[in-house]
Amino acid sequence: MSGQIDAFGAMIRKLERLANLDEIDRAAIEALSFQVSTVAPGETIVREGQRVSQCCVLLDGFAFRHKVAANGNRQILSFHLPGDILDLQHLFLPRADHNVQTITAAQVAWIPIDALRSLIRERPAVGEALWQDSLIDASIFREWVLNVGQRDAKSRIAHMLCEFAIRRAAAGLGSPEQFELPMTQEQIADATGLTSVHVNRMLQSFGAEGVIRRDKRNISVANWDRMRRVADFDPAYLHAAA
């Protein structure tokens, strides 16, 4: 398919940070067959329980993974940026155990699982990079459990902002000190186990304390050290994704 190199550019740059890929590895990724779909904001890409035969790579836009409790409350498990593989676990787990949904309008590439498995067998360095990506995902989930379970409201939100800023910068999307938040306050609340009322209070309080300046969703971090201290943020858990 034409435009393939551009389509996987962000993913390849990410995988190159995780393992030493050579020209043949890169060419093998670029040669993967895929289909691109354009997805509206808030649309479900993968639904819990469905059997999956393709993995999806986020090419453009933002997305999140989530699960819903029997009482209807939603827990957001992670936020995702361009270049992220949104459901790498489907390489070996055929049934989706959570939902994947867009935050903004997005473009995703669907890669047949059989093609990805062949790639891993034939190009061990690519397999190593995907292994690392999956393990880093697990590390991020562990940090989120700590965040939701043991930190106070202000630290939870500060931590989420720090992580988003650092990952966004690592993905080549700009400075960690100035960015637009794609997610709503309700989505931040569902990611931090709070309500949108609490999220608004904390964001206002960061503004009043001079930690951030905020114009609607545009965030400018005025005091990064203070924000990192409030967040209890140590980027070590992001490993090579930071």
């Binding site: 609340a189 309500t195 949108s196 009322v197 608004n200 209070r201």
Partner: protein, 89 residues
């Protein structure tokens, strides 16, 4: 069920300190705050900070009035599994 509201000021250092204790048959059932101007379109609505019956978790929604909250609480208690279990005993 008799629900009464007792005004109180929260020591939270922000705009949301105007609060009430919601007493259900004389027992503390919930603490609500009247949201301040920093909440834009939600300003002046009532937000449930906490409830004290594990079968009636604090709702995420806000309420236009304390009467609306009372209606919600009555309904939540009627659906509470904890209350149902007590009835079954």
């Amino acid at each position: 069920m008799t629900l009464t509201f007792s005004p109180i000021t929260l020591d939270n250092g922000d705009d949301d300190s105007d609060a009430v204790l919601a007493l259900r048959d004389g027992r503390l059932a919930a603490v609500l705050t009247r949201l301040g101007s920093l909440h834009d379109e939600l300003a002046n609505r009532w937000f449930v900070e906490s409830t004290f019956n594990s079968g009636v978790p604090a709702p995420r929604q806000t309420f236009e009035s304390l009467d609306a909250f009372a209606d919600w609480l009555l309904d939540a208690h009627s659906r509470s599994p904890i209350r149902s279990a007590a009835r079954a005993e």
